[in-house]
Amino acid sequence: MKWEIPLVIVFVTGVILALSDFVPHQSIQDVREFFMSWLQIIGVLAVGLGLVSLTQVNLVKVRRKTPGWIYSVITLFGLVIMLVTGFVWDYREPSNPFQFLFQYALLPIYATMFSLLAFYIASAAFRAFKARNALATTILVTAVIVMLGQVPVGAKLAPLKSWIMEVPNMAGFRAILLGIGLGGVAMALKIVFGIERAYMGRD
């Protein structure tokens, strides 16, 4: 009951959905569409679970006054203010408190965080690729060519950069994509046939 029925559900729904790609009959396509809407509904409702978890974790920190609890207060404040403004005002309107928070708080923070990585990624690269061997040097040299090839000072390297992007880079990533694809298919089959069940947790 606790394990068998869920595994049967996974198998039946998985097989129906997989077959629906090969059977063009309207009845199976209707079933597919019906199940696909389930995916969205269950998925969106599950997001609330993450929200509950985030609130719980931060509330516990505040209640126990653990070190840095004030940051949990800030997180909860951000969460509440965004939820309140999002449900009071129409999220589609360009000028309301919800959009203000998104445009002038969330976006600058995200953009700056990612731009900050320019410093750390460069220093990490210096430590990682310090030309210890030929392969590390290859990464370093390729990265430098690609970086210089995109700016005016390295205009002469632009054709070489284009060739690197279009030939070895594409070939390497094509092989990786093939691996991802085959791995994804294997994992999907393992889930459908009940071999992979870690996602169900333990009793």
Binding site: K2, I9, V10, T13, A18, D21, I41, V44, L45, L49, G50, L51, L54, G68, Y71, G78, V80, I81, L83, G86, F98, Y104, A105, P108, I109, Y110, A111, M113, S115, L116, A118, F119, L135, I139, V141, T142, A143, V144, V146, M165, V167, P168, N169, M170, A171, G172, F173, R174, A175, I176, L177, L178, G179, G181, L182, G184, A188, L189, M200, G201
Partner: protein, 208 residues
């Protein structure tokens, strides 16, 4: 002072708070980071509920009278039993539907996009008569060698070792190229933030 000054000042203060991490980990950075966690969780919840949930559950149920959508709605709510100790096993039912549907639906598109299309784009006209033909030969050889590097059914010795060695060189070049590209994307974001601080906020630089 124009009408954008106050919003830009708010954005600039958050930008500076995040940049302060370059000095060291400090309370200002931590506060901005914590606020971002809360704001983004709230933002995506609002967007998901007001777009996806309204479109798939609320509107079909209350406006179109589609009672069958109650089933996934209840299943979705059963997920919350994961928070209890005694009834947590019931949350496996909605999870089973989700994983079954997602896995079954993902099979064909994954094979098509990641396997069939990649092979299709690799099988291109080859030949030594033109630069394009030579490039195509190189692409096929490089893809084959890179794939072979991940093929562990035979020991990578002798000829196989050579092929696998070429594969790892190609993969390293690809990683280097992606790394360079990522660094440049981050630098372009950095330039954008500096332009915002010096141009939009302080008005010290004027860009055409």
């Amino acid at each position: 002072m124009n009408g954008e000054f106050i919003p830009h000042t708010v954005a600039a203060l958050f930008t500076l708070a995040i940049f302060s991490f370059l000095w060291k980990d400090n309370p200002l950075y931590k506060a901005a980071e914590s606020l971002a966690v809360g704001l983004s969780a709230g933002y995506f919840t609002v967007i998901l509920i007001r777009t996806s949930l309204m479109r798939t559950l609320i509107d079909p149920l209350f406006e179109e009278g589609q009672v069958l959508v109650i089933i996934p709605g209840i299943l979705g709510l059963l997920m919350y039993l994961r928070l209890t100790r005694r009834w947590t096993w019931i949350s496996r039912y909605p999870l089973a539907f989700y994983m079954g549907i997602a896995s079954g639906a993902a099979l064909s598109p994954t094979i098509l996009a990641y396997v069939v299309r990649q092979i299709e784009y690799t099988i291109v006209p080859m030949g030594f008569g033109s630069w394009e033909g030579i490039t195509n030969i190189l692409i096929v050889v490089m893809v084959f060698c890179s794939l072979f590097y991940f093929f562990f059914s035979v020991p990578h010795k002798g000829v196989f070792g050579g092929v696998s060695r070429i594969g790892i060189w190609v993969i390293m070049v690809a990683f280097g190229a992606q790394f360079g590209f990522t660094v440049m994307a981050r630098i372009s974001l950095l330039i954008g933030r500096v332009q915002f601080l010096l141009g939009d906020w302080l008005g010290l630089i004027h860009l055409e």
